[in-house]
Amino acid sequence: MYHFLTGPALWIVFAVFIGGLMTRLAFLIGLSRERDRVFYNHADLTWGFKSIFYWIIPWGSDAMRRQPVFAFMVFLLHIALLAVPLFLNAHNLLWHEAFGISLPSLPDTVADGLTVALIGAGIFLLVRRIVRPEVRILTSTWDYTLLILTLLPFVTGLCAYHQWGDYPTMLLLHILSGQVLLILIPFTKLGHMLLFFFTRAFIGFEMGGRRKARSW
């Protein structure tokens, strides 16, 4: 099972993840050439960049400053979400084993801390979804599911690392939940990992490029 998941299954997962995202992007770009002239007509690199920049620095936008704790948690979640899987020492060993290349590694204690922080931030987001009426009313079962699915690889990874529970089972669950998440990204709202840059750039063109108004 382990060999299948880290062998052929992994190739399929990467192919679906990267291929899915690229196909979705290619489809949208193709469609936009015909139906979204407004995107290209007013494209403005400076304003597009500013529009993205103020939303990827902590509390860079007015809306984030209005909900500073939420903004902080969102940052924590996203930073750990990218950093831990990419720079975890154990993952790098696997890269090295397979391809002879690897990325710089985070010290295990840092990765451990980030994982705990991510899970904490995830729980905060979950509770916020339930507690705030304007968020609860928007939230569907699928939104809760996706949030839990996002946290699952980290929870299982943490357990596996600390040898909590049955290690082989935990490891399998970790790999499996990670793969499920990667496969879901291209087909769900999680696609925002790529599409964020386009929609944000667009509103930057629209408000800033055309009107000099801030879109953050």
């Binding site: 979204d36 007015d62 939420f70 968020v135 929609t199 509103i203 879109s215």
Partner: protein, 438 residues
């Protein structure tokens, strides 16, 4: 929102096939992406004055509004009934003025206003829109202006205004259809019908600045309620009338009176409504706030320091002049010439709140006053907090809405347009003065 049923035009038999075709034709990369990646974070709620003004009703967050109108139409692939569209009416026309403030507060910059506009056009295709907006649209279709006013009547009004002012100023004229003018001046149809003095004021200011301008006998109506009614075809015709008249007269620029949505229409959305692929208006479009700014900065109009307003003044940033027009600093520069005690509202400039009269709800008539007053409570409190006695509003809808708000929320304020203040404060040039012998 209250439970009152608000009247709209009666739908024809709902045709799901037609709705589906419209949804399909408009299913752009932007719409697909917006509907798909909205993460339901709820940050947009706080940015919306309708939400704030109605006890933070969670059903009034921008995300909820587009999800349950356009989002639902797409989800059901157009398979909706008249009852659904009737519920959409209340959301689309009463709960959103398309002020675009939420887009700035959305992490993904989702353009909710564009989706609301599309949903309105879908309702319109099934015969659902605000009754008054339907009437105005019909007038536009037939006559090119919202009041169905024949050209002779406009010309008569202009002549009458010239006569009205000739006792006070020398040399004021209103040139009609003059070729090769620098500015073709376009107006809000409320002016010739209800406030003809506004046209006289404009003529006096042009004369004082020795401007080369003209008033067109057709294509003079810069406003565009079909755009808010959801009739994209007539909305396109409405802007084309103006663009084409300006070209025909060889006017260098189209000038817009103190009106917000006219600027949004002619400068930003018009080129798309009229089908110009490059998204640019074929003739340069200038808003009156910009014109006044240039006149004052260049010294073409001079203000008498003794006549500067001393009462505290605040400025209503019309959404379609400030956030959606980019002219917030120009307006403040103009005010620095006119008033001694200026007090800004908070938030302001591109982050202003809509007054609650935008998106077509003001011209929808008195039936819609209660929700306007409720949503507008945010603006009313903003105004009250400044302690100002005068609110300057270079937009007819803001002007009327703030007048209503003043009454409903007991604000002790007077609403004025820039032109009115200018007339009171400017130095009348020598050549316009009438020497009255004793």
């Amino acid at each position: 929102m209250t439970d009152t049923k608000y009247n709209h035009t009666q739908p024809s038999k709902v045709d799901p096939k037609q709705i589906r075709a419209l949804l399909e034709a408009n299913n752009s990369a932007r719409i697909r992406t917006w509907l798909n990646i909205c993460s339901r974070c709820g940050l947009c709620a706080d940015s919306c004055f309708v939400y704030q003004g109605n006890n933070r009703d969670p059903k009034l967050s921008p995300a909820y509004k587009f999800k349950h109108t356009l989002g639902e139409m797409y989800r059901r692939k157009g398979n909706v009934d008249a009852a659904f569209l009737s519920r959409c009416f209340e959301v689309l026309w009463l709960q959103c003025t398309m002020c675009k403030r939420c887009s700035m507060h959305c992490p993904f910059g989702i353009d909710v206003a564009s989706m609301i506009a599309l949903a309105r056009s879908i309702c319109y295709s099934q015969g659902i829109t605000a009754e008054k907006l339907a009437e105005f649209t019909e007038n536009c279709r037939k006559s090119g202006n919202h009041m169905g006013m024949p050209p002779e009547e406009l010309i008569d009004t202009c002549e009458w205004m010239v006569e009205e002012v000739e006792d006070d100023y020398r040399g004021v004229t209103i040139p009609i259809d003059k070729k090769g003018a620098k500015f073709m001046y376009t107006i809000n149809p409320r002016e010739p019908v209800f406030y003809p003095q506004d046209i006289a004021n404009a003529a006096i200011i042009f004369t004082a600045a020795r401007e080369n301008w003209t008033m067109p006998s057709f294509g003079w109506d810069c406003t565009n309620l079909p755009m808010f009614a959801g009739d994209r075809a007539v909305a396109g015709q409405q802007v084309r009338n103006v663009y084409e008249k300006a070209r025909q007269l060889g006017a260098e620029k189209i000038l817009i009176t103190e009106c917000g949505h006219a600027y949004r229409s002619l400068q930003f959305e018009g080129p798309y409504l009229a089908g110009y692929p490059d998204g640019q208006p074929p003739v340069e479009v200038v808003h009156y706030v910009q014109l006044l700014h240039d006149y004052l900065v260049e010294g073409r109009i001079r203000i008498d320091p003794a006549k500067k307003i001393t009462a505290p003044v605040t400025y209503q940033d019309p959404c379609n002049v400030s956030r959606n027009g980019g002219l917030w600093e120009q307006a403040r520069t103009v005010i620095s010439y006119l008033a001694k005690d200026f007090r800004d509202m908070a938030p302001n400039r591109d982050r202003n709140h809509c007054c609650g009269g935008g998106g077509g709800i003001m011209p929808m008539g008195p039936d819609f006053r209660p929700p306007r007053m409720k949503s507008g409570s945010v603006k009313a409190e903003q105004i009250r907090a400044t302690g100002a006695k005068i609110v300057i509003a270079p937009c007819h809808n803001c002007f009327d809405q703030i007048n209503d708000l003043g009454e409903a929320h007991e604000l002790d304020v007077k609403v004025l347009s820039f032109k009115e203040i200018l007339l009171e404060t400017m130095i009348v040039p020598e050549y316009m003065q009438i020497k009255k012998d004793a």
